[in-house]
Symmetry: C2
Subunit: 232 residues, 2 copies
């Protein structure tokens, strides 16, 4: 089974950086690039030019409007960010991440934020785990350098040639359906008493559920619980 | 003792790439940059501009005319290159290199060649070991990305905080003196019968001696042998 990590660029700004990420990927056998809402639209000539020999990765890249759409078939999204935010998430090193990936059999993605600002809390809410690259203080790794490091670690692990069974973990799309259902159930039962706090509470709930890494079957059970509790 | 690796750029072409290397270094606590015969001279405004917050590394960079001068105080130079050439050298991965460094106590340098052509055999002849970054086929890591990977591996190893005694290994300067002496002794004794083959033979001899990693005392012994054999 091909469980090479997908690379997801969220709202990338410069086409050159998208091209540089494609080149970085090609060094380490990664070939599936997904792009969420690029600032300068798509296709992007600067991306193709910078990609050089890795232009096929750019041409094959898939475009998405939102993070959950880009992650729909992904079972374990790793958010690459230097700064874990206020939402509770487990944080691993790149090496720990690729070790997990090698043995989990999950469909995984490495998610990178925009050049200047990084991933926002709402982007992170779709990721089960945060990967933080160990650096000195005041680090300023650019997008392609971060992609190089993740690819390098993955390539070293992948070179060991583990062959594992596909994971039965739920995909992001299945989680999204559950979260949508959960939110409307909670709305109907007037759970969110203070509207201003609803967004933050949903982020925390999503983090709590994603962290558990449920199987598809377990999500079905949770759907059943919602149905039972809401009397439908 | 500070045995953080020095970064040596041999005949770098673009100032932007020198600046990008400085930024890469600053992410991983490396601060000593040495530059051999940069194509566009020195100082270089493009290097300062690209270095951004790492400009102090650029301002403190030392300029050298030749590789052996840049490596004079170095005990173990690692040549970073994708293509081991015809000279016999041991080849290690970045991880193996930083493990050695952590326990050897040697003064070490990571040596990088020009952007397009990489290190030449004569540059390599001053390096005891070759570091090759594991990649997929047709890899094209740029200068700063290679520096990022070496820095990243070193930083992870250095984070373990080993404290070891300084090595008594000979420095490049001491080796250079020995090689100069060896060459003139061999010249005098008409060792190089075919002038056209002399350069290649000296490269092989240098590789053979450097590979052994002699101490300063052992090099003195070798000097003594030369004196004895040449009757001085």
């Amino acid at each position: 089974m091909d469980n090479r990590p997908k690379i997801i660029l969220v709202r990338p700004q410069m086409g050159e950086n998208i091209g540089a990420v494609a080149r970085a990927m090609s060094n380490f056998g990664l070939c599936e690039l997904r792009i969420v809402a690029p600032r300068d639209g798509w296709p992007n000539e600067a991306a193709v030019a910078m990609a050089s020999g890795a232009a096929p990765i750019i041409h094959a890249a898939q475009l998405y409007a939102t993070v959950p759409e880009a992650l729909a078939d992904i079972q374990h999204a790793y958010a690459t960010t230097a700064r874990p935010r206020d939402v509770e998430k487990r944080v691993v090193t790149p090496k720990e991440a690729v070790c997990e990936i090698a043995t989990s059999g999950e469909q995984v993605a490495f998610v990178f934020g925009p050049e200047r600002t990084g991933l926002e809390n709402d982007d992170l809410s779709w990721c089960r785990t945060i990967v933080t690259i160990p650096t000195a203080e005041n680090a300023s790794l650019n997008l392609a350098q971060s992609a190089v490091l993740m690819g390098y670690e993955w390539w070293q692990q992948a070179g060991k040639g583990l062959d594992v069974s596909p994971s039965e973990a739920a995909t992001t799309e299945q989680y999204e359906q559950f979260f949508t259902r959960l939110e409307s159930s909670l709305d109907e039962s007037d759970f969110f008493k203070v509207p201003a706090k609803k967004a933050g509470m949903m982020l925390n709930l999503k983090a709590m559920f994603l962290r558990a890494g449920h199987t598809e079957q377990e999500l079905r059970t949770l759907h059943g619980i919602l149905s039972a509790l809401s009397g439908r």
